[in-house]
């Protein structure tokens, strides 16, 4: 998905097409449908300049109605960074992302603990597995009210938490002040996932790591499973 200001679309295409050898199509924000697609990725960036709020304007892009239909029909949707913000503004995922507690843009490698392997994007992972993936954002401070948080925990919708290299969830390993160290969540069905870290930037050793591939590979396996 490419909105004005999206910047990580080519990185995502590189991970899926060049590394995993799966076909990729760029979807322009003015398109009216996403027919024929099996997986929609909303990449990172600064859609519409992040005016008003991150993702607030992108939600009204013509293509987003089709994305919402696709998601509601069970289609796989992954929102990364700004894509996560857009999915929240579109109410496809709960909560919101506030400015980082430090008020600084954070661009660094972090460790993520996989909290559950039921989502379409963590099928290939085991709960407790630690992935090393970079972040790059100024507004990734996950917030939801306590009732929403409890519901997310209860339903197993917390997918990733920031953690120490050994998997311990600590305050020091939280790069942005996210409540309960939450780095990524899913919808109730597990077909829509939003995450602040960038798995597409950790897809081959040359980039410093390839842990991000587990997320794309999980989606491919989820699709294969559905097809069978």
């Amino acid at each position: 998905m490419v909105f004005p200001g999206t910047w990580s679309d080519r990185d995502c295409a590189h991970a899926v097409l060049d590394v995993l050898q799966e076909p990729v199509r760029y979807i322009d924000h003015r398109e009216q449908n996403v027919d024929g697609l099996e997986l929609v990725i909303l990449p990172g960036g600064f859609s519409y300049g992040d005016y008003l709020r991150c993702g607030a304007i992108a939600r009204f892009a013509p293509v987003m109605e089709a994305v919402a239909d696709f998601a509601n029909r069970g289609g796989l949707v992954l929102g990364i960074c700004n894509g996560f913000q857009i999915l929240q503004e579109a109410r496809l995922l709960p909560g919101a992302l506030l400015r980082n507690a430090s008020c600084e843009f954070r661009c660094e490698w972090v460790h993520l603990r996989v909290e559950q392997s039921n989502s379409a994007f963590t099928l290939d992972c085991r709960p407790g597995q630690v992935l090393r993936i970079p972040i790059s954002h100024g507004e990734g401070n996950f917030f939801a009210d306590p009732q929403t948080l409890d519901a997310l925990e209860r339903n197993g919708q917390v997918v990733f938490r920031y953690c120490a290299p050994d998997g311990r969830v600590t305050a020091d390993s939280n790069p942005n002040g996210s409540v309960r160290n939450i780095a990524g969540i899913s919808n109730a069905h597990g077909n829509v996932v939003g995450m602040m870290p960038h798995p597409e930037r950790a897809c081959e050793p040359l980039l410093g790591g390839s842990d991000g591939l587990a997320i794309f590979r999980s989606a491919i396996h989820a699709l294969t499973r559905v097809a069978v």
Partner: protein, 94 residues
């Protein structure tokens, strides 16, 4: 009637406001130690043509709910004032 609407968007009291905390720190550093809290927000001004004040208020409220504020994290307050008649229809088509 033409109206001028001011919309004040602020983070809900339960939402942490890192920008507000940073500004408070700056004020303290400047010696304004009496400041106990700062909340940063957004200020928007709209001009709109509606039949009456109630209708204008309802429309702006709808705008705030749909786009200008995010109900998950933000509250908003609207102030509305009439600013006169819009340009006459004949004038506009000329």
């Amino acid at each position: 009637m033409r109206y001028r609407a001011e919309i004040f968007v602020t983070l809900k009291p339960v939402v942490n406001d890192p920008a507000g905390l940073t500004i408070r720190g700056g004020l303290h550093a400047l010696g304004f130690e009496s400041v106990t809290e700062v909340r940063a927000g957004k200020y928007l001004v709209l001009t709109l043509d509606e039949s009456d004040a109630a209708q204008a208020c309802a429309r702006v409220d709808e705008m705030a709910r749909q786009l200008l504020a995010n109900a998950v994290i933000e509250d908003y307050r609207i102030e509305l004032e009439p600013v006169g008649e819009p340009a006459a229809a004949g004038e506009r088509s000329a």
